[in-house]
Subunit: 196 residues, 4 copies
């Protein structure tokens, strides 16, 4: 089965998710800069979610780049990932509108955690299909970055009930870790495309 349409559908869903979040930033009735202030937490939560959904798209792009073919199980593992990502606008909105209140930060982290679990399942499904010696399996390796993220999300969710700010700092930390490019992976891809 061809991977092109699964990529196109995922691109569509992620494009809608990342864009409809902005509908939650409702313009204020006043026209002074002061009127924009109550929107600041909503804006911060929007920025964080935009970066997170952007990271997922980026990683999804890399993951499928190394994929040759997809199966029925891969299609469902992919839809499972899209399901948790589709809850991001809701979690973002609840957290932003309530100024990062403890339980809202916990829910946001839970959505991040479940999306990360879904991404791990998608990766494992793809590796199971391609074999442990495939380029895909090699480029994922031991997936230390993925496992570390899962651990941090779990700790952050537990912390958020008492220390929501620390939890948010941890979410931001994981995002920054993924933003910094991993030279080994890019090198791997460049080597491959040269040897093709």
């Amino acid at each position: 089965m061809n991977k092109t349409r699964m990529e196109a559908f995922s691109d569509g869903v992620i494009a809608v998710i990342i864009t409809i979040m902005v509908l939650e930033i409702k313009p204020p009735h006043g026209t002074t800069l002061h009127d924009l202030r109550p929107l600041l937490p909503v804006f911060f939560s929007y920025v964080m979610s935009f970066v997170y959904v952007g990271i997922y798209w980026n990683n999804h792009h890399h993951l499928l780049h190394a994929t040759q073919h997809v199966t029925g199980s891969v299609l469902w593992a992919n839809l499972h990932l899209l399901f948790w990502l589709s809850l991001t606008p809701f979690a973002t909105d609840w957290m932003g509108e309530n100024h990062f209140a403890p339980r809202t930060v916990a829910l946001y982290g839970t959505v991040l955690l479940l999306a990360a679990v879904a991404y791990t399942i998608l990766t494992k499904t793809l590796i199971a299909h391609h074999g442990m010696n495939s380029t895909l399996a090699e480029s994922i390796g031991s997936d230390r970055k993925g496992k570390f993220s899962l651990g941090v999300y779990l700790v952050a969710v537990l912390l958020s009930f008492r220390m929501p700010r620390t939890a948010c700092a941890l979410y931001a930390l994981v995002a920054i870790m993924w933003l910094i490019p991993d030279p080994r992976i890019e090198k791997k891809f460049i080597n491959e495309s040269h040897s093709q």
Copy 2:
């Protein structure tokens, strides 16, 4: 005529349908987990519709994979299917917000039924164009699964006025039936791609 653009347009429409449904889950004003409780039926109806729209995308993907070319009638049969799917967010919202009240469950089932009828029409239009001996006709076969679903939807809609919960259980049953991969179809596709 090329099928690529019909696939791309369908992907776009289905991606928007599956994602805008989340806009109906409005974040509560309170910040306790208790405040999230009234959202549970809305969330359940969202999950069911996400799975259903996902199944349609999946089946559409398989159906068009086996298709070689499309005609004007195919384009319209496809738009007809997208029309009924586009009513899913409305039916989902009405059912979720009213805690699965009888008539809302009946309308939801009617939308499922009409989408299934539209899917059957699309399949028949494609087979009429490709011929009864085509790979497409063979891979569809007698379409027992499709006919069984139509029957269950009809029974469930009639039941829903008296027993909305049983009707919902039947909708879920059909969804689970489609979620379980059909080994014969996947085998068929693998054999074909090997023999190409």
Copy 3:
């Protein structure tokens, strides 16, 4: 310049337009079928706009199928068409919510008229670029169907201030005319693809 990306972008915009219109059908608070009744005019206007946007997608698909390359002017003629189509959800909503009141029907028709004018401009821009002897120019021909539609829209808009129902019937008439497949065009495409 490649036409693929212009097609992909148009597909995306039209997919969003056709789907967000359903957000305007707000579920009622009651749960009886009687509560759904006030939604009937909104639903009818949705059906009409879905069919119209579907026709535009369909014709756009055929038009670009016969196109070899695009220029900067073609990109802008295409965006101009998408602009008028993007106003469809607004015009549909105003007309549906006000039970097809005279001025709302006139505005709806004006949007249809301007979209048709934009489509004519796009066609002419493409023909100017491909030459009068191109396959594109031949398959468009004298464009009697397009000119007739423009005339009917104009008459319908003028009528709508006094006879909104007749105007709606005329809009529906034009839609049905486009829905019925034109055997000559399909034949033309089939012949071409055979001779390639």
Copy 4:
């Protein structure tokens, strides 16, 4: 790495941005043309934003047409551009609903300015990767049009606090400058495609 999926994702995001803006034009309750009047500033701001987002899509199309491959940094520079563009619906809505009040015009210009800065960064990232002697670097040249736009945006934002109308006129001026096709660039592309 392949540029196709980055194009497809950008097309999706820009298609959603350009289309959801129309959701902000809420149909009035009255049915006379007089009732539409308060919507005029909202409509004007919609037209301006539609043209601006259209220009970005157009330029993005040209820029990536001349691009051979993309890297991780290019993906992020592209997401950075999409982030500022995604704020367009918010800025448009605030400005339109408040009849082009000084601070709303300043915010709108700031979003335009930051999107233009992000576009410049994307261009520079692509040139850094392709080399100063690449077709891409040549077709961009000294980017006088881009630098001039940045300057005008900056002046217009500063002016907007006192003279919001003049600021709007300047935004419109830059848009018109980009709408007029640049014969040199088109010629460049045509020459290239002939020499391929």
